[in-house]
């Protein structure tokens, strides 16, 4: 089951299928088409593909205009530039104007590897989460990518997707259904719940759950592909069921998945939550393996967080020994 597919190829193929059925779909790039891998889309739909050059703010503003003109624009660039460079254009012309811009940020977090600190977005989910009504999501594998992009296209309103463009192992089957705003249970468990988002962290969480089994700890694993709106029902169900949670994200701890889960818990059913994520730091260059350790995101750190969670609950006498 180690079948891997290149995410950007899946993204492009999905867009092509959508565009064949719906002529409103158009594509914008900002001199990173080679990185996004959407060249094939351009070959098939040259008149519906616009390379806007290295000018992200203009690209996203133009996308909003295309939407005002009745089109459904998908607009790609590195996540750092999608989120930071074009934020005001996305906020005002896209979201505040209640238009329909599908913004895609590639190479989220440590996935930007060799491009280093300037290119390593640990804050994009945070700032995007603050835009009213915006749907923010991050698929974890090729199947969920395809299905969620389809959902995004048919959703009326702006969306922001984090896209890991490299080859990623398939974890879902073609029969799996996906809804924006509804997390997926990858593994059931009784002692603790690992809630992860994105290709890198869902894989690490699954690895961690295997390691925990060896320690006699049964961990549920949830793929929280949509960070906003967050799946309150699923979080509360597992908070009740397992009594403790660990969130796992390739993003700042501040204002990301962990924050969204914490907000849900604190107002409804407070249980102990530990958060795996970047601890108020900037990015830096390195390979994924190096960066996973550098920012304490790897499966090993998830295991430690899960054990800390259980020990603390014991101390607080929240669970019986």
């Amino acid at each position: 089951m180690m079948n891997q597919l290149e995410m950007r190829a899946v993204y492009t193929q999905t867009l092509i299928e959508l565009a064949k059925k719906d002529e409103r779909i158009v594509l914008l790039e900002a001199d990173l088409m080679k990185a996004s891998g959407t060249g094939i889309f351009k070959n098939i739909f040259p008149e519906r593909t616009f390379n806007m050059g290295v000018a992200e703010a203009n690209m996203v503003g133009v996308a909003a205009g295309l939407s005002a003109g009745g089109k459904i624009p998908f607009s790609d660039t590195f996540a750092c530039f999608a989120a930071r460079r074009a934020y005001d254009q996305f906020f005002i012309s896209g979201n505040y104007a209640r238009l329909n811009v599908k913004l895609v940020g590639t190479d989220p977090g440590i996935a930007s590897e060799y491009n280093g600190g300037t290119h390593m977005p640990f804050e994009d989910i945070g700032i995007m989460r603050n835009i009213p009504k915006l749907v923010v999501f991050e698929p974890s594998d090729p199947v969920s990518l395809k299905k969620l992009v389809e959902k995004s296209a048919s959703y009326q309103g702006c969306t922001y997707m984090r896209l890991h463009r490299k080859p990623i192992t398939v974890i879902y089957s073609e029969e799996d259904e996906f809804e924006l705003g509804k997390g997926k249970i990858l593994k059931d468990g009784t002692d603790i719940t690992l809630i992860a988002s994105g290709a890198i962290m869902v894989a690490e969480a699954l690895k961690a759950s295997e390691l925990l089994i060896e320690e006699g700890i049964s961990a549920a694993v949830i793929d929280m592909h949509t960070i906003k709106p967050i799946d309150t029902e699923l979080i509360l169900h597992y908070a009740r069921k397992t009594g403790g949670l660990v969130t796992c994200e390739n993003h700042q701890q501040i204002n990301g998945l962990g924050s969204a889960v914490a907000e849900t818990l604190i107002e409804n059913y407070p249980v102990l939550l530990n958060r795996i994520g970047v601890r108020d730091e900037f990015g830096e260059v390195g390979k994924t393996d190096y960066l996973l350790e550098r920012y304490q995101l790897s499966a090993g750190h998830i295991v430690s967080a899960a054990k800390t969670n259980l020990e603390q609950r014991k101390k607080l006498e929240l669970i019986q020994i």
Binding site: K34, N51, V54, T118, G286
Partner: protein, 275 residues
């Protein structure tokens, strides 16, 4: 420029080019194209025009350079290492986890780097700010700025163009590395920036255009720019992306390439055989 000096600069440029190819080849991947098109201009500035102080990189009263196309960092690192800002051994740590030499220029990591860059367009504004600070402090030194032609797609470049001319920053000498290519293809096909001379002229800059691999032409242009009394200077450099590396030169995929170390060494050998 004396013949002797020209020969020295050409020899130095070859050395810097080889060091740059070697450091990227040693890692196995990198922004080889845009690194090699700026070898001559950086060599000219650092070995002829700029007052730098390797022993005291933070000295205020010296010329500064902002490499706004920050992905060309490896070329600048070769020069800074050669000048003694840090040990040459560092070049083989390029872009490795924990390095002091990241892919994009970072003033907090690398001695001798005057501004952190990597998000295209931002070096433009930063250079303007440094030039303004110099003026406020009565520091009579130049700020050199290098932007890319693809980078010139960014609105921020043109906001800066307006501001630098408005504030009559004659202490700012900028260069466009006009290598005619960006990532996705030729600049004129992806997002055309022509007529570049006319644009900078219209913004009120002193504009010159020279061969960016020719020391004599560039040197004269810089001398003229230094004498300009009121306007910021833009020197448009006609260059070749990937210049001097047989595996990269003029290739449309040379922006960020995998480079086999043996191939890199072969490229250096070929450069040695030229005279």
């Amino acid at each position: 420029m004396e013949k002797q000096e020209l020969k020295q600069l050409e020899a130095k440029a070859k050395e810097i080019r080889k060091m740059t190819i070697d450091s990227i080849g040693y890692l196995g991947v990198g922004h080889i194209g845009g690194a090699l098109s700026v070898v001559e201009i950086l060599t000219l500035l650092y070995y002829k025009h700029m007052d730098t102080s390797p022993e005291e990189p933070k000295r205020k009263d010296r010329d500064k350079l902002v490499l706004s196309k920050g992905h060309a960092g490896p070329t600048l690192y070769s020069i800074l290492a050669d000048k003694g800002f840090f040990p040459k051994e560092w070049l083989h740590t390029l872009n490795k986890g924990g390095t002091r030499l990241p892919s994009h220029c970072d003033m907090n990591c690398t001695p001798g780097i005057d501004m952190t860059t990597g998000s295209l367009g931002q070096g433009m504004s930063a250079a303007i700010g440094i030039a303004m600070a110099n003026r406020l402090d009565g520091v009579d030194k130049k700020v050199y700025l290098i932007i890319g032609d693809g980078e010139s797609n960014e609105g921020q470049i043109w906001e800066g163009a307006m501001a630098a001319a408005h504030y009559k920053l004659n202490n700012l000498i900028a260069f466009t590395d006009y290598n005619k290519m960006q990532i996705d293809g030729y600049v004129h096909e992806i997002m055309n920036i022509d007529d570049l001379n006319a644009k900078w002229n219209a913004f009120g800059w002193f504009v010159q255009r020279v061969n960016g691999h020719d020391f004599l032409d560039m040197d004269m242009a810089v001398e003229r720019a230094k004498r300009e009394l009121y306007r910021p200077s833009m020197i448009i450099l006609d260059t070749i992306k990937g210049k001097g590396a047989f595996f990269a030169e003029r290739r449309l995929d040379n922006h960020n390439m995998n480079v086999n170390y043996d191939t890199a060494k072969e490229a250096c050998r070929l450069l040695d055989q030229e005279n």
